[in-house]
Amino acid sequence: MIIAGILARPSISVAMPAPLLSVHDLACARGERLLFKAMNFSLHAGELLLVQGGNGQGKTSLLRLLTGLARPETGEVHWRGEAIRRVSEAYHAEMCYLGHANGVKDDLDPVENLRFSDGLQGRAFDRTRAVATLEQLGLSRCLDLPCRVLSFGQRRRVALAALLLAGATLWILDEPLTGLDVHAVALMEGLIRDHLTAGGMVVATTHQALNLEGVSVQRLLVGNVAIPELV
């Protein structure tokens, strides 16, 4: 039997506000196989949830359940106390998901990619801010190149720029550090820390060590493969 459990959890005092994101009795199956069941956790503003587990244990499936792309077998994901399937439009306005695929169009340059991702989120496009974000992520030399000619890591950075511009409260990141060099990983750690300090929330899976001092981290083990501590 595969059971998911929380390894470390900050003690919740009575005075603490209600969690923004909470998961109740969640079960997930892929085909015939039960990946996890009876999963419960809650996440408050300013907290990071690090989802850990071996390959094929259901980390990505869990993240897709949290985004609302997939439906759970049983249980419910709640955002601000309401089931996400009932408040999906409000939830999606406050949530940004970065999956394995970057969602970056190869035929467009980075700025155009950001313009369309802003348009599709129903926001007005601010070119100066988009260029500044791309430069912050070290893409100042590739602004007018089609993303087709960019490297894997550079395309990942374009996707991260879209994440930053989205201004979402909750970031759901599936292996955000894949393909990033040491500088970009350090930058990403800083961005996650800033986001959490500003009251944001992050749910992330990663196999890499993250240096996140001073951040409230919950860790969730999916599946039954023991993972050494990374943080």
Partner: protein, 222 residues
């Protein structure tokens, strides 16, 4: 809401402008299929005028199928489809925007090429005018119903063939009324009845198919 629809439209049109080869192939296919018939059945003008409307309509249908299998597939492959589905705007609008972009990219060129092919089939000017009108009403149906098929077969291996088998039967009413309108104009029985039915079918598919396609898309992405 309309800003989101415009963003989807502008995005798909920009992408199509960057990859001209993709949609030119469908137009060449339309011309080739329509041009093969005179070579196959012989050059008698009466015979060509008799089969012309049907051939042009079948060729337009097949050309739209050629492009529909990639309506969502490219965006699915690079992950941008998930981002669009997760946007705060309803998926129905996304599907509607993509079907509209598909019509602008594939339907409009068909409308422009069809009169030339009509001359090749010895159709009278009246018949060509009715043909244009029937295609104007009918090609949106192809894009709208096709979006349902594209959403249902998303991510399946051999999805293109399955899409063809699923969607072609649904195209039958559009084909019958569209080609029938031109036939009616040529026979002197009038085209109005066929065109009215074609228009009604277009309104029906405009109202229903985005909802079905949106539901199918959510199932395909799960």
């Amino acid at each position: 809401m309309h800003r989101f629809l415009l963003a989807v439209l502008r995005r798909d049109l920009t992408l199509a402008a960057r990859r001209r080869g993709d949609w030119l192939i469908a137009q060449f296919f339309f011309v080739m299929v329509a041009s093969l018939f005179p070579l196959g059945v012989g050059p008698e003008p009466e015979m060509l005028a008799r089969i012309g409307p049907g051939v042009l309509w079948v060729a337009a249908t097949l050309a739209s199928l050629l492009s529909l299998s990639r309506l969502f597939a490219d965006d699915h492959h690079d992950g941008s489809l998930e981002h669009m589905v997760l946007s705060p705007e309803p998926t129905v609008l996304l599907v509607l925007g993509k079907a509209m972009a598909h019509w602008l990219i594939y339907g409009i060129p068909v409308l422009l090429i069809a009169p030339v092919l009509g001359i090749q089939f010895n159709l009278s000017w009246d018949a060509i005018l009715v043909l244009e009108f029937s295609l104007l009403l009918g090609t949106p149906i192809l894009s709208l119903l096709g979006s349902v098929g594209a959403a249902l077969t998303l991510g399946l291996r051999g999805g293109g063939v399955l899409l063809t088998l699923l969607i072609l039967p649904l195209y039958v009413p559009a084909l019958i009324f569209g080609a029938g309108a031109v036939d009616g104009a040529m026979m002197g029985t009038g085209a109005e009845a066929h065109l009215s039915l074609l228009g009604a079918f277009m309104v029906l598919s405009l109202m229903i198919s985005p909802w079905i396609a949106a539901a199918a898309l959510r199932i395909s992405l799960e």
